[in-house]
Point group: C2
Chain length 367, copies 2
C-alpha cells in the first residue's frame, strides 16, 4: 500500500513476486479463517468459523432494532427480534465459504482479503423461513428480486454504502432460505450478524447478509454495488462478468502430523497415516473425493461418509489411509460433484472469486 492511498479504486492485481501489502494484512488480521485442524469438528465451534466483514462489525441495539420488510409488498412489516422468534423456527447445518477463499494462492494475486484456504466453516443456524414472511407481507405479482441490506456501513471503490445484496425472487422463496438469530444453539455473535442475518444455503458468503435491517421486494433487477461491481467472475477489467453464485466443489485435508511454527511444513512418521478431511459443494451433490499422496501423479479414492439427508448443505467427512515412506511429498485432495471436479490447474479471474483449485499440503515423512 502506498500510504497516500486514502480510498480504494479499481481492484488491483499484484505484480509478480510482490509480497502481501499492509492493506491486505489489515484485512487478514481483522477477518479470520478456520485453522484447518478444525476440519475435525462436524460443527465448527464458536470462534473457529471463518469471518469476513467488509466494513466494521456494527453495534446493533437489539432492543430498538427492527427488521423492515418493504418495497413491492401490500403490507410492509416492521418486526422486532421477539416477533420474528415467535414464527416457526428451523435449525439447519450449513457450510459457508467465502467467495474469495484461495485468493492469495492465485498467480497473479488479486489484491483484496488474502485468504489461503481457511475461509470456511459449518454451523447449526436457527431461524425462520423467509418465504412465508414475504407471503405475509403480500408479494407484488411484479416482484423479480429481493434486496437485503445490513447495518454495516463503509466505502468501497468510491461507493459509500450499507452492505446490500440482491437475490432473484426464485432463490429468495426457496424454503431453506432463513432469517437466522442463533448459531450453534447460542444467540448470533456480533461478528456473525447479530441480531439477524440471512442464510442462503449453497451460496458463497457474500449472499449471507449480516446485521439485516431491510428486506425490499423489487420489481426491477437489483443493481447495487455488491452484485453489479463486486462478486463478478471476469478476466478483463472491462467485462461485465458472470455473477458469483453457488459454492463450487472442494475437498480440504486436515494437515496430518505436526507443523513447523513458521513454515507450517508438516511432519509425520513413516507408516500408516490416516488422512481425514471434509468435502462439499453448493451446486450439486458431492459424488467422489480422491487423494494423491505423490504430488498429483496418481490418485486414489477416499472413503466418503454417506450424505445425510437431514443436512444437504453440510460438509461431508472423508478419510484415506496413507502408507507414508520417508522423504518429502505433497498431499492433494479433490472433490467431484454431479457437475464436475475441482481443477488441478488454476482458472484465474481478476477478483479471485470462486477459486476451487485443489489444495496442496507439503509433508516431510520422517524415517
Amino acid at each position: 500500500m502506498t500510504t497516500t492511498e486514502i480510498t480504494s479504486g479499481r481492484a488491483r492485481i499484484a505484480e509478480p513476486g510482490e509480497g502481501i501489502g499492509l492493506d491486505e494484512l489489515q484485512l487478514a488480521t481483522r477477518n479470520h479463517g478456520m485453522p484447518l485442524e478444525a476440519l475435525r469438528y462436524d460443527v465448527t465451534p464458536p470462534g473457529l468459523h471463518y469471518v469476513l466483514t467488509h466494513y466494521d462489525i456494527p453495534a446493533v441495539d437489539t432492543s430498538t432494532w427492527r427488521l423492515l420488510v418493504g418495497g413491492a409488498v401490500d403490507r410492509p412489516l416492521r418486526l422486532s427480534l421477539e416477533e420474528l422468534q415467535r414464527r416457526p423456527a428451523v435449525t439447519a447445518r450449513v457450510l459457508l465459504e467465502c467467495a474469495g477463499n484461495g485468493r492469495a494462492r492465485y498467480q497473479p494475486r488479486p489484491v483484496s482479503q488474502p485468504w489461503l484456504l481457511e475461509a470456511v466453516g459449518t454451523a447449526e443456524w436457527t431461524g425462520t423461513p423467509l418465504a412465508p414472511l414475504l407471503e405475509d407481507a403480500g408479494l407484488s405479482p411484479e416482484a423479480v428480486d429481493v434486496a437485503f441490506t445490513g447495518a454495516d456501513h463503509g466505502l468501497e471503490r468510491g461507493v459509500e454504502q450499507d452492505y446490500a445484496r440482491g437475490l432473484s425472487l426464485a432463490e429468495a422463496l426457496r424454503p431453506d432460505v432463513l432469517l437466522v438469530w442463533a448459531m450453534n444453539g447460542a444467540p448470533l455473535p456480533p461478528q456473525h450478524g447479530a441480531p439477524l442475518r440471512l442464510l442462503v444455503p449453497g451460496w458463497y458468503g457474500m449472499a449471507q447478509v449480516k446485521w439485516l435491517t431491510r428486506v425490499d421486494v423489487l420489481t426491477e433487477p437489483f443493481t447495487g454495488f455488491q452484485n453489479a461491481t463486486a462478486y463478478r467472475l471476469k478476466v478483463d477489467a472491462h467485462e461485465d462478468g458472470e455473477p458469483v453464485t453457488r459454492i463450487r466443489p472442494r475437498a480440504l485435508l486436515a494437515p496430518p502430523g505436526w507443523p513447523d511454527f513458521m513454515t507450517r511444513e508438516r511432519f509425520v512418521r513413516a507408516g500408516t497415516v490416516p488422512l481425514t478431511g471434509r468435502a462439499w459443494s453448493g451446486r450439486a451433490p458431492v459424488t467422489r473425493v480422491e487423494v494423491s499422496t505423490d504430488g498429483g501423479a496418481t490418485w486414489g479414492d477416499a472413503r466418503l461418509a454417506p450424505a445425510d439427508p437431514a443436512h444437504p448443505y453440510a460438509w461431508r467427512a472423508w478419510s484415506h489411509d496413507w502408507t507414508a515412506r520417508p522423504g518429502r511429498t505433497e498431499l492433494l485432495a479433490r472433490a467431484t460433484d454431479e457437475r464436475g471436479s475441482q481443477p488441478v490447474e488454476q482458472e484465474w479471474n481478476r477478483q479471485g472469486m470462486a477459486n476451487n483449485l485443489v489444495q496442496r499440503v507439503p509433508v516431510t515423512v520422517l524415517g
Copy 2:
C-alpha cells in the same frame, strides 16, 4: 518464503520494503485478532478475542485427559477435569495481549506472526487457584521454578517440542494465578486451551499456557525453548536478552466513523466526534490516557474510567470528545502507568516483542 525452506531456522528480519511473505500470511490467516471496533465491549465476545497458537490446536479428549502435577513435590497428583472443578472456583476479568502485538509495524520487521495492533482481548476466566494445588502436592523446599506443558506439539527453529513455559515459584504462587476451564461462562473453546489453561494475570500471552497436561515443580531454573530462546528482548542475535514478562502500558482507540474496505482509512463528518477506547498495563496501574488529534503535535487528557478494584487486570474504558474539522489527520492515544508512558518512537528488538509504540489512526474528516 522460499519454497525450499522446510523448517524455520534463526528468526529472520525482513529487508527494507519487503512485503509480507506467504509464511507470515499462513500465520496471519490461522491466528486471529480482535477487530478494534470490539474495544466497545467490556468483555470480548467469544470468537472476537485474539488467538495465537504456535503449532496446531490439539484434539484433547476431556474424558481421558488428566492433569499431572509432579517434579519436586511430595505427593504427585493426577487430576481429572471434574476433580479440578470440585476445588474452589474463582472468576477473574483479565486482559490478555500477545507479546508480538504491533510486530508488523516495526521497521525493519521481524518475520513471525505479523500482528498489527489487534492481538488483545478481555475475558471472564473461571478456574481454581494454582497455589493451593501446589501446596496439596507438597512443594519441595528446594523448588525455584514451575514448568507448564501443553498438548500442542510442533517444531520451532529446529526444536521439536510440546509448548512449555517456566514461571518462577514466586509468580506461580501468586493467589491470582489460575487453572482455567471456562471463558465468559462457557467451557473453554478449543482454541483457547480446552480443557484447561493457565492464567497469569498481568503477563503477556506466552505465559498463559493452553491445553495444559503437566505442571512440574523444578529445583533448577527452567531452560526450555520458549523461555530461553523465544520471548527474549534483544537487539543483536547473539545477546541472551531479557525475558519478556509483564504487559507494558497501552491505549487503543476504537477507530471512529466508517472505513474504506481496502485501505481501512476512516471517515467521519466534521463536528463533535466522540472517541473511545481502552487502556491497560500488566506491570502497574494505569494513571493517564492522552489523545492527540493532530498527528502527535499536541495532546489532551482523555476521561479515564475509574479503576475497578474487583478487576485489577481488566482493561479500562476511556473517552475524549474531538472537534473534527474538514481535512485529513492522524489520531493517537497514549497510556501512562505508574512506571512510565508508551513510546511515540519505536524501541526496536529483533523478535518484535513487548512493542507498545503508540497507535496512529489516519482519519479523513468530511465537510
